[in-house]
């Protein structure tokens, strides 16, 4: 079977990570920020898978399973926080949350 070159997989992971980062930095809607975070997590997961298949190790796949679990937990907590935020501030605009202004 013709295997996909490792560079392609890593470049795809890099593009996905950058897209996620740009999403986190530019989006004002918290829901989209959360989704962008998921994309960044999955990009790093993809990098693990590609590297694992290149060297034929199982650790990368195990790590991806962990990232998946982490992402699920994170979404659960994140969505809970977003609901709380919406209840309290009646908005999902992240710019409203600027109480830490020095």
């Amino acid at each position: 079977m013709q295997s996909i070159p490792i560079e392609h997989g890593l470049i795809l992971a890099g593009i996905l990570f950058s897209l996620g980062l740009i999403g986190v930095l530019t989006r004002r809607n918290v829901v989209f920020v959360l989704m962008s975070l998921e994309i960044m997590l999955n990009a790093s997961g993809l990098a693990f898978i590609v590297a694992a298949s290149r060297w034929g190790h199982a650790e990368g796949q195990i790590m991806f399973l962990m990232i998946l679990t982490l992402a699920a937990a994170e979404v659960a907590v994140g969505l809970g926080l977003i609901i709380q935020m919406y209840r309290r501030f009646n908005t999902v605009d992240i710019n409203v949350l600027s109480k830490m202004k020095g």
């Binding site: 930095l25 710019n95 830490m100 202004k101 020095g102």
Partner: protein, 616 residues
Amino acid sequence: MLDLIWLLPTFPLLGFLSLVLTGGSLPKKIVAVIGAGSIGLSFLVAAIIAAQFLANGEAHFIKEVWVWMSVGSFSPGFTFYLDGLSLVMMLVITGIGFLIHLYSAGFMLDDPSYSRFFSYMNLFVASMLMLVLADNLVLLYLGWEGVGLCSYLLIGFWYENPANGYAARKAFVTTRVGDTSMAVGLFLLFAQLGTLNIQDMLHAAEAQWAIGSGLAVAASLLLLGGAVGKSAQLPLQTWLPDAMAGPTPISALIHAATMVTAGVYLIARTHVLFELAPNVQLLVAWIGLVTLLMAGFTAMTQHDIKRILAYSTVSQIGYMFLGLGVGAYSASIFHLMTHAFFKALLFLAAGTVILSLHHEHDIFRMGGKRKQLPVAFASFLIGSLALAAFPGTSGFFSKDEILLAALEMEGPGLILWIGGVIGAFFTGIYSFRLVFVVFFGESKAHHEDKEVAGFSMAGPLILLMILSVFGGLITIPVQEVFNHGDVHEEHHVSAFMHGIMIAVPLLGIGVSYLFYMSRALSIENLMASSMAKSLHKFWFSGWGMDRLYQILFVNPFLFLARVNRADLVDRFYELLVQLTRIAHKMVAQTQTGQLRWYALSIAAGLIVIVSLGVLL
């Protein structure tokens, strides 16, 4: 028994410690028992020691308790030295001190800080005893500063009123000027004579220094500086009238009977030094004379009952300095003792008047109080008679001896004598002005109160009355101490001169009677001219000394402080502060509170670090 002399300061010190460590949690009865009891015990021990010492007939007794510090040849110890002079001082301090403590137990009963009051008083007595019993100048200086501290604490006892705090500070700072001079004197004595043990030092000075040598003059001048500060003599006398801000028993104990006479004690103790510098000794006499006259003038113009007594104290200590200056040491110490009797009596009686009249101090708002305040009236009458040197009272004998000694002195003796006699005339006027205005005349009706005088307050007054009348008959055993150079008992003075000395105080009392009692002469007429008014104002302000010092010292100091406010060093540190503040503002601006901004900074930082890692 003589070995027990260390118990004398120990009892009051223990009293102080137990009162101060319990922090006012003890009931007032127990506080009074500890406070007055410790002094009472001290007095008992002092009396027994005195009896034994006099029975032994030895000139002096030394008891070393322990060595304080030991540096090379310099090892001052807690060593007590007892001779006739310290014997008299110790009996006066513990005796009068005990009576005043007893009085305070009643006087201060309504004060919430009862325990604090007695703890300071006990500390004072302990320090004062240390001062007079010390055998070396270092221990003496410890006591000297100890009494200064207690004086500060007790003048500012009612610290809720800022004015009292200022008065306390003034007293402390003014006496500190003298104390600094005294400390320098001690350094000089140690550097030149190699010892600070008083007796050794005096012998060494006699052996090494010629009469009138520069070192003797410098040393005695420096010690004199300490003495005038403590004893409120010219030019450091301004603190004493303000010190009346403290409770009245304090004025009686510290600012009349004991502490302010410490300067007299110091000069008497080191009189050998002063005899080596005859000019300085003459200066002592002149300081005494000028002070007693100035204070006499001022006392005649005051309204405040305690300030009148304060100026009279300054004036009487002036007599003591006059006596020291003319070499009549035993007469001065004698006057110190009788003055302690009658001035403590006057102050305690004034306390009774003030307390009975709800803290009224102005004598012109009293009047006709002799029926209302019988004990205070009797006390004031007897105290004023003694103060004015009425023949037969204790003050008469002591003042008489000082003036006779002045008269017999060669050179300026006659001028000193005339000044002293004029001072006695003023004493008669101002002391009886007080009596006539407060206790005679028509009653100002707004006080209809009974005299406040329980047993603990009336008892000391009666005892002090007896001492004030008969104290002149006591012979003090100080001849041994001053045996060389002291003016001897046999005075060769014509009956005419003696007559003048007896008549002048009576004349003063008579003038006071004409002005304030029979109203044959009127103050209003006397005060009519504008010159009399301005003179009155001048005297009332204590010869403008406070103003003078304000202009001479306080204002220049404030000016320098203002000028130096932004000097180079300060500027440098202020620049540092400014830089820090600017940096802080810049960093604070990055904290926008925007989550996306934080995420961006994290990402940017990461990129920077990773690229650094890759590039380097």
